[in-house]
Structures are given as C-alpha cells and as structure tokens.
C-alpha cells in the first residue's frame, strides 16, 4: 500500500492532472482527480497560484486553471527526483 502523500506529492498530482487534461482543467475536476477535499484544494490552489505554477483564467463564462511554464518545470524536476529516489533507494 502506498504511504501518506507528502505536500510535494499532492502538488505534483495536481499539476499532473492539469497536464493530463490538456494543460487546463476546471477546479471541480481537479478536486476529484487529486483526491482532495474542498478546503484542502483551496489551500493548495492558493499556494500554486502564489508560486506561479498555475494561473486562473475565464473561458466561455467558466473558470479554468492552466499550468504555467514554471509549473511544467516543477513536474519535470519532480519526476527526475523520483527516479533518483528509486535508484538510490532513498
């Protein structure tokens, strides 16, 4: 069984969900895909926007979240880190 997700794991899962949905996602979809409660998701979204990993946009009257280049770079670093972790057995 997988262990408890760390904060970094959750941020990675959220950003990966946006990538998997074609770089943009509705907030409710992101909440279900990331397995987060509404309150948790609000906190994480604030942090992701503050860190400039995602941006909020309006499209046809709906709110969407899009991933930024900085967010994409974080995902890349995170996956490199996970491979490194597996290889070194950390």
């Amino acid at each position: 069984m997988a262990g408890k997700r760390t904060k970094t794991d959750i941020i990675h899962d959220m950003l990966s969900s946006i990538i998997d949905k074609g770089m943009q996602i509705k907030p409710t979809h992101l909440m279900y895909r990331s397995n987060l409660s509404h309150s948790q998701m609000t906190l994480y979204l604030e942090e992701l926007v503050r860190k400039n990993f995602i941006k909020k946009i309006d499209k046809s009257g709906y709110g969407y979240l899009i991933i930024t280049d900085k967010g994409l770079r974080f995902v890349q670093k995170f996956r490199e880190m996970k491979e490194f972790e597996k290889a070194f057995g950390l």
Partner: protein
C-alpha cells in the same frame, strides 16, 4: 609523529590527480542534485546523501592538493612506494600536508559511513561508537596506511550489501548499476591496501577507481535521462 601515504611510480605522477578530479566531478554532481531535490521535498535522506557525497568530494579535493604539493615540492622522492611525512613544527608545508592527509582520510570514512547510515538506521549510541572507531582508525592509519584502506573497504562492503538487497527487492536496474559502481570502488581499495608492496598496484587501484566513478556517472545520467523521458512521454499521451 609520522604519517604514511601510498604512492605510484614516477611516470604516474599527475595522472592520479586527473583521476581524482573525475571522481570529484561525479561526487559533486550527485551531491548538487541531491541538495536540489532536498529543497523540493525536504526528505532528510536527500540531505544525508548530499552531505555524504560532499564529504567524499571534499576528501578528494584535500587529497589532490596533497598530491599536487608532494609531486611538485618533493619531486626527489622518485620511485618510493610509500611517502612518510613527518610532523615537525618548523616546516609549515609538511605539517599542513600531515594534517591534510588525516583530514582526507577522516572525510572519506565519514562520507562512506553517512551513506551507509541512510540505509541502516542506528541508535545514537551506535552512531557514537562507530564515529569513535572511525576516529581511532584514522589515527592508527598514520603509521600503517592500509588501516585506512581496510576501513574504507569494510564501509563500502556494507554500502554494497544495502544496495544489493534494495536491487533484489525492487529489481530496479539503476540500483543494480549503483551496486556495481560501489563494488568496483571497493575493489580499488584492495589494490591500495597492497600498494606498499609494489607501487604498480597503486596504478591499478587508481584505474579501477576511475572505472567505478565513470560507472557511477553513467548510472546518474541514465536515471536523470529516464526521468526526463518519462516526463515527455506522459505529456504526449
């Protein structure tokens, strides 16, 4: 007070400095990435890995400085297999070399011990005991140089066993490559142990060390490349 240091034949002077520079590069690269990853997820194991590889890189920096001064200041040593440095308060350079050798050995042994400690959690008493034994071992390596190489070999064996079990349990090929890298580095220590008999063993040990660190570099490149490739594949699906 005297300190013993193994030495290669005259024609090899300088080549060992280049081999150690390669080792410093590989160790620093892994330490840098480990520190970078520690900033991302604050898992302490990354920090310990960064400290361990930084200590090992620093130890080689000290060793290279020592070799540099020995080759260019004490060139008359010629084909000696073992160099004996004497601590005399009148000659600052030789005294610095004396303490430099001790520091290089201490940093190497603590570097390997911290790496081992990542995989084998120990009580504070055990950490204290092993740290004490490393200090004692470094002290006695002054007059019997192979005490240092034997201790390094034993520590490397424990690291190899840890990686081997991880590889067996997870079947992760990069961990297998990592095991082979440390095995080769451990074999180089056997050659350094007997280098006092014939300094060609020192040459062999250095060449084996080079192979070990190059394999470690290849493993690192494979790991990072695979992480990036996985990232691209995921973006395109």
């Amino acid at each position: 007070m005297v300190i013993e240091l193994v030495h290669g034949p005259g024609w090899f002077n300088g080549a060992d400095i280049i081999i150690d520079l390669v080792s410093i590069f590989v160790l620093s690269l892994i330490a840098f990435f480990s520190a970078k990853y520690y900033r991302i997820n604050e898992n302490r194991n990354y920090l310990y890995l960064a400290i361990s590889f930084s200590l090992l890189a620093s130890s080689f920096i000290f060793k290279n400085l020592i070799n540099f001064f020995i080759y260019y200041k004490f060139i008359e040593l010629g084909g000696a297999k073992i160099i004996t440095l004497t601590f005399k308060t009148t000659e600052i350079l030789e005294d610095l070399l004396f303490f430099g050798v001790l520091l290089y050995r201490l940093l190497t042994l603590f570097g390997f011990y911290i790496l081992y400690s990542i995989y084998q959690k120990q009580s504070k008493a055990t950490i204290f005991l092993i740290s004490y034994l490393i200090l004692v071992s470094t002290y006695f390596s002054k007059e019997i140089y192979y005490v240092f190489h034997t201790t390094a070999f034993v520590l490397l064996l424990t690291i190899i066993i840890s990686y081997y079990w991880k590889h067996l349990n997870r079947q992760y090929s990069s961990t297998g490559l990592l095991t082979y890298s440390f095995m080769i580095i451990a074999i180089s220590q056997i050659f350094f142990m007997v280098a006092g008999l014939d300094n060609h063993f020192y040459v062999a040990g250095k060449l084996i060390q080079l192979v070990g660190y190059i394999l470690l570099l290849i493993t690192f490149i494979i790991v990072i490349k695979y992480g990036r490739k996985k990232n691209k594949n995921r973006h395109h699906t």
